[in-house]
């Protein structure tokens, strides 16, 4: 990291909030995707909005790339540091600045933990709907960058459906406001909030976010159905969808995932099942009761060998805790695994599961399946032993085939974890050259030096501008050069 940049940083931060020693940098070298590790040049820990703005402007002026990081829980390597770049840790900006129960909004800083919002507004009978499995630890800033989903996004939509407005600092240091406090506020002009949410940190940093809150459902009814066959559970999802019901969440776990999650939290899952379907209805009591009778009928018809309903809030909480712990719990089964995040049209879920089964057999690798079945978001976890030479490559090849299948079936390479580092090379399988170029142009228009989260999302993107356009022919021949 260059000396003048570092000296300028020292003017913004006291020494205890500017980490530079190896021992301090090492724990920041990975997020929740440890297959990638890069030690940052330094880590800055701002506590005010002004410090963030000053830092981004400094980075822009001196052309130093930066990565914003909340709790470091990205599963796609989205918050992987840049070598010799700056890591900006936003976890200390964790204030909920305003709660307006009448307008049903909360204004928060980017380092606020997702679940803390629901805890803070519970007293008003409200909650923040998007519920990524890591909600007890992941931050709103990261949720915005990756447009995070969660089990209950089936009914209520992803993060983008719950952000009303935000103050941001863009990659060129400009501070601006997108959206407003009103749900109708985006009516005029383009939806810039929508543009920013899911941009994987490539446009800048959200400084202050206005979120929409929802009234807490009056009643939940949660049912677990056990199947002796994964495809049958997938078909059950299609049957529920076809019946016209819209549950709050519909999740499937297969045998391996059930085993791991049960060991982690003791949720009372049926260990003899090949697949477990969890369906939750929520809303006003009379409606939920009526829907529940219908749902039960559909599930009984779907060939479940056991149907169990959560008795009381404790049991319901444990069922969800188990589901939400499932990824990490797979660490009990295997020291190394790849978490995949593909999407298929939910009408083709059964087909996709059969295909994954075939690929698994072909590659002779174990795959644990956990997925948001209601919206066709698959999370195959490919287990491998990193100590075996070639095992990672084999697992990656299998992951690639699963993603290709998702695209082929009309789906996507990512549902909620983002492209990040992990799926950069797969982006062109979804977008043509024209679309890719539009995205790059957009990025350069907002962040001309391409310093915000450089290297993420675009294929082999250390310096995307140069790689897109290539060098000038004279430059290549060494006739001219640029500074």
């Amino acid at each position: 990291m260059n000396r003048p940049f570092f000296e300028a940083l020292e003017k913004i931060y006291p020494t205890d909030r500017l980490l530079t020693r190896d021992v301090e940098l090492l724990p920041y070298e990975s997020d929740a995707l440890t297959a990638f590790q890069t030690k940052p040049g330094a880590v800055a820990l701002p506590v005010t909005e002004k410090e963030i703005i000053d830092t981004v402007r400094l980075c822009h002026r001196m052309k130093v790339p930066f990565v914003a990081r909340g709790s470091g829980t990205s599963l796609s390597g989205g918050s992987l540091p840049i070598a010799d770049g700056l890591m900006i840790g936003l976890n200390r900006l964790n204030r909920i600045k305003k709660i307006d129960p009448e307008q049903r909004i909360a204004v928060v800083e980017p380092g606020v933990i997702n679940l803390h919002i629901s805890e803070a507004v519970r007293q008003y009978g409200l909650y923040y709907a998007p519920d990524p499995s890591s909600q007890s630890v992941c931050t709103i800033g990261g949720n915005i960058a990756f447009n995070s989903g969660g089990a209950h996004c089936l009914k209520y939509g992803m993060t983008s459906n719950h952000v009303l407005g935000m103050k941001v600092v863009l990659g060129d240091g400009v501070v601006t406001q997108f959206g407003s406090e009103s749900i109708e506020g985006v009516g005029i002009g383009p939806d810039l909030v929508g543009l920013f949410v899911g941009s994987e940190g490539l446009f800048g940093i959200a400084l202050e976010i206005t979120l929409r809150l929802m009234p807490t459902p009056q009643l939940y009814r949660t049912v677990m159905a056990a199947y002796d066959n994964l495809g049958r559970a997938g078909d059950a999802v299609s049957m529920v969808v076809a019946s016209g019901l819209l549950p709050g969440a519909m999740e499937i776990m297969d045998r391996l995932a059930i085993k791991a999650a049960e060991a982690a939290v003791g949720a009372g899952y049926p260990l003899d099942a090949e697949a477990l379907l969890i369906v939750e209805l929520e809303g006003e009591a009379p409606q939920v009761e009526a829907e529940f009778a219908e749902l039960r009928g559909v599930i009984e018809e779907s060939g479940a060998f056991e149907i169990r309903e959560a008795k009381g809030e404790d049991e319901r909480a444990r069922i969800w805790q188990g589901r939400k712990s499932a990824f990490s719990a797979v660490g009990r089964l295997s020291p190394d695994y790849i978490v995949q995040d593909g999407v298929v049209p939910r009408s083709r879920l059964g087909e996709a599961l059969v295909k994954i089964g075939e690929l698994k057999a072909q590659y002779q690798l174990d795959v644990a399946n956990v997925f948001h079945a209601g919206d066709g978001n698959l999370h195959p976890l490919i287990l491998y032993n990193g100590r075996e030479p070639g095992a990672l490559e084999k697992a990656e090849a299998l992951a690639g085939e699963i993603l290709a299948m998702c695209v082929e079936l009309g789906g996507s390479i990512t549902g909620e974890h983002g492209v990040g580092m992990e799926k950069r090379e797969y982006l062109p399988t979804m977008f043509g050259p024209v679309e890719m170029e539009i995205m790059r142009d957009l990025r350069r228009a907002i962040d001309p030096e391409e310093i915000a989260n450089r290297g993420k999302m675009f294929p082999s993107g250390e310096a995307p501008a140069l790689q897109t356009h290539g060098m000038h022919p004279l430059e290549r021949q060494g006739v001219i050069s640029r500074e």
């Binding site: 980490l19 020693r21 190896d22 021992v23 301090e24 090492l26 724990p27 920041y28 990975s30 997020d31 929740a32 440890t34 820990l45 709790s71 470091g72 829980t73 840790g89 976890n91 200390r92 933990i113 890591s134 007890s136 630890v137 992941c138 999650a261 060991a263 982690a264 939290v265 712990s325 499932a326 990824f327 990490s328 719990a329 797979v330 660490g331 009990r332 020291p335 190394d336 695994y337 990193g386 100590r387």
Partner: protein
Amino acid sequence: MRHQIKSDDPRAPEMTEAIEKCVHCGFCLAACPTYKLLGEEMDSPRGRIYLMKGVLEDKIEAEEAQPFIDRCLGCMACVPACPSGVAYGDLLVSYRTLQEGSRLRPLSDGIARRLIIETLPYPQRFRLAMKSGKIGRTLQPFLPEAFASMLNMLPDKLPPPSPLPPILPAQGDRRGVVALLSGCVQQALAPQINLAAAKLLSANGVDVHIPAGQSCCGSILLHIGAESEARQIARRNFPLMPDDIDAIITTAAGCGSGMKDYELLFKGQTDLQKASDFSSKVMDFSAYLAQLGLRKPRGFAAERVVAYQDACHLLHAQGLQSEPRDLLNQVPNLRLVDIPDAGMCCGSAGTYNLDQPAIAEELGRQKADAVLAAGPDTIVSGNIGCITQLRKHLDLQGKHLPVMHIAELLWAAYQS
């Protein structure tokens, strides 16, 4: 996580297994008191695991990483929070022990540490140290920080030494036989706790043996990585326990969880079998009594509003959450109130308040605030360290509420 650890230490398998199981997901961050307080990755469980891995892989110097490892409270809140089942405690104890041998400390730290090793485990010496502590207090401004906070912890008045009877026979039908481990620091600071526990057990139909000549269980020494001293002192208790007992009872959370870890302490050493037999019988007082079933207490004449403060080494290390609460809920005219964020450590953490006074102070202040928010008139806990810490911080806020061991309150409920 993948790693390249090559270690010939006998504990290497524990350490590598824990590191392998960690998937770096960050679920532990929310549970960790130091991460909440300091907001840095190095001061989180995930970060510490990464640092220990870095040291064991020779990527960083042990000395560099040590301040962050030292700041770990050892509260184990990260263990139940971990979906992938990392045995963080095994890793931490093994790592601390491994580093302890090769570690250089500043002189004052070394002296404080030696003082702990030579004093805390021995009730007689501890009493003596407390007396001399009074002299030390006048010199306090000139002493290193760790000394100063040590002296601050000492009570103004010593309770008289209170020898326990060798046996308290069961009253009424005999429902069980136990041995009570009387402990060290606690027996010197608050002898009434063991006495209340013994009487309570006896009133519930349990023969209580209190073998003479007991020593410290070694947990406090293990906590600071003094492994061989811990083993040496732990061994002394093995032959003292009678054969036909249902359980070895302790009234101190840290001793209970430490003794339950004897297998790790004695791994590859002589007396492993004895240690393991001993360990398998260890039960916290509240767990034993809850399992046995309480004979109906009389309760209190006027309503008492009680907050139960979870000791980390009961809640996180031994998984005892409902047991003590179930006992309290059986007392007539006792209303139990919940302390917000109950799983957060109070900062006492064994010798932590001696080693890391600043963090311990802040956690103590926060815990006192949380307790007051619950609005109790009495606070109970299952650990002398937590009791001392909370009493101190409530006093600092001018709220002189009674803070006592759960055994004391339960025993009072039989007498009123």
